[in-house]
């Protein structure tokens, strides 16, 4: 135990506000009648492409045609309608950086796995075992750091394809 740890914790105990009521939060997050429609609209807004497919196999075939050897194809565990974020857990840990180095990143998600909002998403993720590393991705990488002008493709993928199956 370091000196800093002891002194910081002592100061926090001394200075912390007292009498804070218990934290109970109500479920307030927006619900969508058709999460598929909202997800697709939001992903387009985020600069990503949405492709509806009848099966994962046809998505894999389309990906091979579309991207060539430089693309990366991943599976998403769930998707969120309110912001088009897709939860990608890195379970085998193989290469955490690999999808970020790709020019094109594609993700397969089941339509049935689209939830309305982040509250539902975290509730679902939290019930399972958490991966060592997991990312919500919501489109291609982007920046507006040069004069507030939006540029798609910063350090991560320049193209982002979502296959909804």
């Amino acid at each position: 135990m370091t000196e800093a740890r002891t002194s910081i914790l002592a100061a926090l105990r001394e200075n912390r506000p007292k009498g804070e009521a218990d934290l109970v939060l109500e479920d307030i997050a927006i619900q969508y009648e058709d999460p598929f429609v909202s997800f697709s609209a939001m992903m387009k807004k985020n600069g990503g492409l949405v492709v509806a497919m009848d099966s994962a196999d046809s998505a894999v075939a389309d990906f091979a045609n579309r991207c060539g050897p430089d693309g990366v194809l991943l599976e998403g565990e769930l998707a969120v309608a309110e912001n088009a974020a897709i939860w990608i857990p890195f379970r085998d840990e193989a290469e955490r950086a690999r999808p970020f180095l790709a020019e094109t990143l594609a993700v397969i998600v089941r339509r049935a796995d689209i939830v309305s909002n982040m509250a539902q998403a975290y509730a679902r993720i939290g019930t399972g075992e958490l991966p060592g590393y997991g990312v919500f991705m919501a489109g291609p990488s982007k920046t507006a750091d040069i004069a507030q002008c939006l540029v798609i493709g910063a350090h991560g993928p320049i193209e982002f394809v979502t296959y909804l199956v």
Partner: protein
């Protein structure tokens, strides 16, 4: 130097100053659109505020819980009482791994601690990888905004910097081409780096998770490519539960840039196989601020920058005029708690219009804190003496009908004459603008005339 003097240069270039003003107002407008798409926004803010208040009341327990969870996950946790200790710890970890080159993603904390300078002095190469931060690093400037570090620059200035430092064509000013040039240059550096340093947006106590939010993907490359990842966080980044991330990820990007969420919301739970992950928890004045009843809520800040984008002073004076790591309204209340003497002009760099408070996603009472700081600073003997004298004088005049009447007559006469005869303090109000024509009579006189 005080805020008005530091702002003078930026304000003098009125074309650039108004471009800056409009650019930030554009971000504020995007925020409004994103917020209005969520009917429960105000309740969501309330939840954010409540989680932060609860967290501040239980910071010690939460940090201990967070530490235990991290250790269970194989993450090494360090504690630093101040900036120098933080820098020593980070340097120690890097030195142990014989790191010569490292990449950094955005972290206001390491900016606050002066980590780059510390590591560079010891012969390490530190590369900031967020595009905006990289731009200001190449120019040897501090960031001027916590989310948009290079917002004070126009594309021609950035083109010139890239031309000088990366050898891009001098006439290449297209934003996409400039971004691609930086992408190419930095990609090499990512691949060569032996360690990655990131900031922390949220640290989840019950699971031992560190969450980093970016749009560029630089934090994921920096943490994912090298063997060693060091995440640096202030003690106030802690939130109690994994589920609470939903509240903050819903608030953060909408408030910051008007996006529904950042492109990447990355959850670091365990070191990668064969790698090492360290978390450095830093106090640097925060525990003392927790003891200040009027100001402690500023510790709830999630660093979205919304208060800057909306602030009429920040938008026109630019971030550098604050001469503090965090500028704008939130910086103006944070900075004096650390060093009231140096930062005594910042709480006065506000119109107290309250717009910052209105947009704050965790409902920090920013303008009230700035007002409270004014009183506090004057009590401590700081602040502008002239301003204090004129406030006292104004108090006397406004509480006496006779004095008020005389002052009105005096002002109407003085303002009819040429401006140069006015006292120098009054003339400051007339920089870059003039007053409307002086009325022939006072409101009181006119009212009386109409009563008849």
């Amino acid at each position: 130097m005080k805020h008005p003097e530091a702002a003078a240069g930026f304000v003098a270039d009125s074309a650039k100053s108004s471009w800056h003003d409009q650019a930030l107002w554009g971000v504020r407008t995007k925020r409004d659109a994103a917020v209005s798409a969520i009917p429960e926004w105000e309740e969501l803010r309330e939840q954010g505020a409540r989680i932060k208040a609860w967290s501040l009341a239980h910071l010690d327990d939460l940090l201990v819980q967070f530490e235990a969870q991290c250790q269970q996950n194989g993450i090494v946790v360090h504690w630093a009482a101040d900036g120098p200790e933080h820098n020593r710890i980070v340097h120690g970890i890097l030195a142990k791994h014989r790191v010569k080159k490292l990449v950094k993603s955005k972290s206001m904390l390491t900016e606050e601690c002066g980590l780059n300078e510390h590591l560079e002095a010891q012969g390490m190469e530190v590369i900031d990888t967020d595009l905006g931060e990289r731009i200001v690093q190449l120019r040897h400037e501090p960031p001027s905004h916590i989310v948009l570090p290079a917002i004070h620059l126009q594309k021609e200035e950035i083109a010139e910097t890239f031309h000088k430092t990366m050898g891009t064509p001098a006439d290449m000013t297209d934003e996409t081409e400039l971004t691609r040039a930086a992408r190419k240059d930095l990609r090499e550096r990512f691949l060569q780096a032996e360690a990655g340093v990131t900031g922390v947006n949220f640290a989840v106590a019950d699971k031992g998770i560190v969450v980093v939010c970016t749009n560029e993907g630089n934090a994921d490359l920096g943490a994912g490519l090298p063997r060693l990842h060091i995440a640096c966080m202030g003690i106030e980044k802690i939130i109690p539960k994994f589920d609470h991330l939903s509240v903050f990820t819903r608030l953060l990007a909408r408030s910051a840039t008007g996006q529904p969420i950042t492109v990447y919301t990355s959850h670091f739970h365990k070191p990668k196989p064969g790698g090492e992950m360290h978390v450095v928890i830093v106090d640097n004045g925060r525990s003392a601020l927790l003891g200040r009843k009027d100001f402690r809520r500023s510790l709830g800040c999630i660093r979205c920058g919304a208060c800057m984008n909306t602030c009429p002073i920040y938008r026109r004076s630019g971030g550098h005029s604050y001469m503090a790591t965090v500028p704008g309204p939130i910086g103006s209340t944070l900075a004096p708690s650390k060093d009231p003497k140096t930062h005594d002009s910042l709480p006065f760099a506000s119109t107290l219009c309250g717009s910052c408070t209105d947009v704050c996603p965790v409902k920090i009472d920013l303008h009230q804190q700035l007002l409270a700081w004014r009183g506090e600073l004057v009590k401590m003997g700081y602040g502008d003496r002239k301003k204090i004298r004129s406030m006292k004088l104004a108090g006397k005049v406004l509480s006496s009908p006779t004095l008020y009447k005389l002052a009105g007559i005096g002002a109407r006469i003085a303002l009819r004459g040429p401006r140069f005869v006015l006292p120098s303090e009054a003339k400051k109000w007339l920089t870059n603008r003039d007053l409307p024509p002086v009325p022939a009579e006072s409101f009181r006189a006119r009212y009386r005339r109409h009563q008849k």
